[in-house]
């Protein structure tokens, strides 16, 4: 993975000193709340329900074991022993003291980490596919490009005070696993006929109050120009994005208002001036960075390990785990493994300090000392020998990492919600817990099959509920917590926003409603159909009828005003 050189170190350390000084001035009273707020946000520090929440950047989701250990240490010493992995592949700590935040940043800097631009109206952490570099269907490794973009976007002087936050996602595979069309800029790595690398550029995706899928603005952008082209997009946005209303300030609204064609014209006009400038990337720089993501020294192994085949045949629990939590690898005899952070009794994405340490040990012993964070809020060991899978599974089980539920209903994405987040309309963690309890039976869960269920505590949509087969959104109905359900959302190449099923539900009814929706699917599915396939075939109505059994017919439900 990328290692800092003297320049990177100096820049990150200067930031720690700068923030220490800003915090001191704020605590002394010479920097008002209003002046300090945007500054602390650009260091990932929110003031939440209980204490400041610190969002630590995990650039493109990649962590070395020594970084995981440092995170465990910070979680133990400065927090209450639990970290929360977010859908942006970052780690959030909910109990940091403001006075200690500069010390935490200094600790992070010692292992080449930071909280720079993890919040605020600036360019945020660049995200990508958790299987980058090992995925069999990869066109090119997205991580070197993500690192190039990380450096370019870090303290970019022109784009620190944008109308709103700005997220860039990048995918290196044919099947997009990084939800790039939900980003302000989505970059899809492609090769042209001459075999040269470039990017298909999408702009203007995003969730929130007005969920929109990004539009394609350029089919093939040669790699040399990725920085200048992003700069052109950002400049048009910085100048013309709306600043009068935060709900209309994302670039998606600008793209929508101008229309894709006019927006693209403006970007191209700007780019014409920037294109051949000094930001044009050089082969030398791309090589310098790419060689730090070179493949690990893999052993030459057979595609099928005999011992592993026996274990698969003999142990149902193991084979069930393999079926869900083990993923193909481009190198023969290796596999990628998801360590599930979803299990009954624990908020999705939460990891204790002990688990963080344990994950570091597993990474060292099984996966070249590296782990990844997924946007589904799990951890991945990307380079495990097939013949080690059984031993790893046994260890993961004792550590609470082995719930065999990846891609299934209980592998929920869930935002911190009303328990922690001051913006929430409703709690999300207890809803996740109730659903988890209802679907705890593994046979039932596996029979239901692939199904994404996401929960957000408010319209800010941090839990990506729009993109789930079943989405749950906390809404406020005259001061009470209610939940709206959407169906049919999906990520990836065929990204779609879910449809609202009808009026919202009280918390206590949510598990029942989910169960009725699942029953409807099971009653209607053909053979191997996934929930989404059945939904696409039979439509919303049968699900609506099931969700509101007492009051249906569906039209009655449909005509009510949605909460």
């Amino acid at each position: 993975m990328y290692r800092y050189d003297e320049y990177d170190h100096a820049i990150v350390q200067a930031r720690v000193a700068q923030f220490r000084d800003q915090t001191r001035r704020h605590l002394e009273g010479s920097l008002s709340d209003d002046e300090f707020r945007p500054l602390r946000l650009q260091n990932g520090l929110y003031i939440q329900r209980h204490a400041p929440m610190l969002r630590i950047a995990v650039p493109y989701g990649l962590l070395a074991s020594r970084q995981l250990r440092k995170l465990a240490d910070i979680t133990r010493r400065f927090d209450r022993g639990v970290g929360h992995f977010s859908t942006r592949q970052n780690l959030q700590l909910n109990w940091i003291k403001l006075e200690e935040a500069p010390d935490v940043l200094a600790e992070l800097a010692s292992v080449e980490m930071h909280a720079i631009q993890t919040s605020g109206n600036c360019i945020r952490n660049i995200t990508t596919d958790q299987f980058a570099g090992v995925a069999p269907d990869e066109i090119a490794d997205p991580r070197p490009w993500a690192e190039v973009l990380r450096q370019w976007s870090t303290f970019h002087p022109e784009f620190a005070w944008l109308p709103r936050k700005f997220k860039i996602g990048i995918s290196g595979t044919t099947e997009d696993r990084a939800a790039i069309r939900m980003h302000d800029i989505g970059l899809q790595i492609v090769k042209n006929d001459a075999g040269e690398i470039g990017f298909t550029v999408y702009v203007g995706g995003g969730l929130g109050r007005t969920p929109l899928i990004a539009r394609k603005v350029r089919a093939f952008l040669p790699w040399q120009h990725v920085l200048s082209y992003c700069e052109a997009i950002l400049r048009v946005y910085n100048r013309y994005g709306r600043r009068d209303n935060p709900y209309k300030a994302r670039i998606k609204i600008l793209v929508k208002t101008l229309g894709t064609e006019e927006f693209t014209r403006q970007v191209d006009a700007e780019w014409a001036h920037l294109k051949e400038g000094t930001s044009t990337l050089t082969e030398a720089e791309v090589q310098r960075i790419a060689c730090q993501f070179a493949p690990h020294p893999y052993e030459t192994l057979p595609a099928d390990d005999a011992g592993y085949q026996t274990q698969l045949r003999d142990e149902k629990a193991f084979s069930r785990w393999v079926e869900r939590n083990v993923h193909p690898h481009r190198v023969s005899g290796y596999a990628a493994v998801t360590l599930s952070l979803k299990k009954p009794g624990v908020a999705p994405g939460d990891a204790s300090d002990a688990q963080l340490d344990a994950a570091a040990d597993l990474a060292d012993r099984y996966s070249f000392g590296e782990a990844r964070v997924t946007h589904q809020q799990n951890l991945v060991l990307a380079d495990v020998r097939q013949r080690d899978l059984h031993a790893l599974w046994l260890e993961a089980r004792t550590l609470g990492f082995a719930t065999p539920n990846i891609g299934l209903l209980t592998d929920m994405i869930c935002c911190p919600g009303g328990d922690f987040c001051s913006l929430a309309n409703a709690k999300s963690i207890p809803i996740a817990a109730a659903i988890n309890e209802r679907f705890a039976d593994l046979d039932y869960l596996h029979d239901i099959g692939e199904l994404e269920l996401n929960i957000s505590g408010c319209m800010n949509s941090c839990g990506h509920h729009h993109l789930a087969a079943i989405g749950i959104l906390g809404v406020d109905k005259s001061g009470q917590e209610w939940y709206q359900i959407t169906l049919g959302g999906q990520q990836g190449n065929n990204a779609r926003i879910g449809e609202v099923i009808g009026r919202s539900f009280a918390a206590k009814d949510v598990p029942d409603v989910i169960e009725r929706l699942i029953d409807t699917y099971i009653a209607n599915r053909y053979d191997e159909e996934r929930f989404l396939d059945t939904y696409a075939r039979i439509g919303l109505q049968p699900f609506r009828d099931a969700a509101y059994p007492a009051t249906t017919t569906g039209n009655a439900a449909k005509e009510r005003t949605y909460a």
Binding site: D5, Y7, A10, I11, A14, R15, Q18, Q22, S30, L31, E35, P38, L39, N121, Q151, W152, T154, F155, H156, P157, E158, F159, A160, W161, L162, L227, R235, N238, R239, R243, H273, G277, T278, S279, L281, T282, A284, E285, R288
Partner: protein, 173 residues
């Protein structure tokens, strides 16, 4: 602490007067506004309204650009200004950063470029990177202490008006 100018990375006297005009003044009014003698900063719309007369005027003239002002409008006039001020109604309004780069990098403006409005110590580093050379620190903020912030970072990744080459081109060298 009264309003204080920073120029050349030190505290400086402000030799310019600023002519302000109420927001609701229409074009007709602008044509009749008297521009005083001496080094004066006038709103860009006033410049556009009295352009010919002001070009003929003796003495230095500066223009002030509202954050919404499209700098392209002045592209042909840049050479007439000894000072261009860019207004920051709130420090989180970042439009002026793009305006500054356009003035420097696209329109070749080389005179004094001044940041005015809601700015302070924690904005100076970025402001200086995009081409601002003077900073009018508003009443109540500590301009002397702000001087330190020009050295907040020892290195920068991107090119800017202050640094023609991005770090990757210098790293490789």
């Amino acid at each position: 602490m009264p309003e204080q100018l920073i120029q050349g990375r030190q505290l400086a006297d402000n030799r310019w007067t600023t002519l302000t005009i109420a927001d609701d003044a229409g074009d007709t009014n602008l044509a009749h506004v008297a521009v005083p003698a001496g080094a004066v900063i006038i709103p860009a719309p006033l410049w556009l309204a009295q352009r010919a007369a002001l070009i003929a005027r003796e003495g230095e003239i500066g223009v002030s650009l509202a954050s919404t002002f499209e700098v392209e409008t002045l592209a042909a006039d840049i050479a007439h200004f000894s000072l261009i001020a860019v207004e920051f109604p709130k420090f989180v309004d970042g439009r002026g950063y793009s305006t500054a780069r356009l003035l420097r990098e696209r329109y070749g403006y080389t005179g004094e470029l001044r940041a005015v409005g809601d700015i302070g110590r924690d904005q100076l580093f970025y402001l200086s990177r995009v081409g601002f050379t003077s900073f009018l620190i508003p009443d109540g903020r500590d301009a002397a202490a702000a001087l330190q912030s020009f050295n907040d970072f020892p290195e920068v990744y991107q090119s800017g008006v202050d640094q023609a080459l991005p770090l990757f081109r210098r790293r490789a060298a």
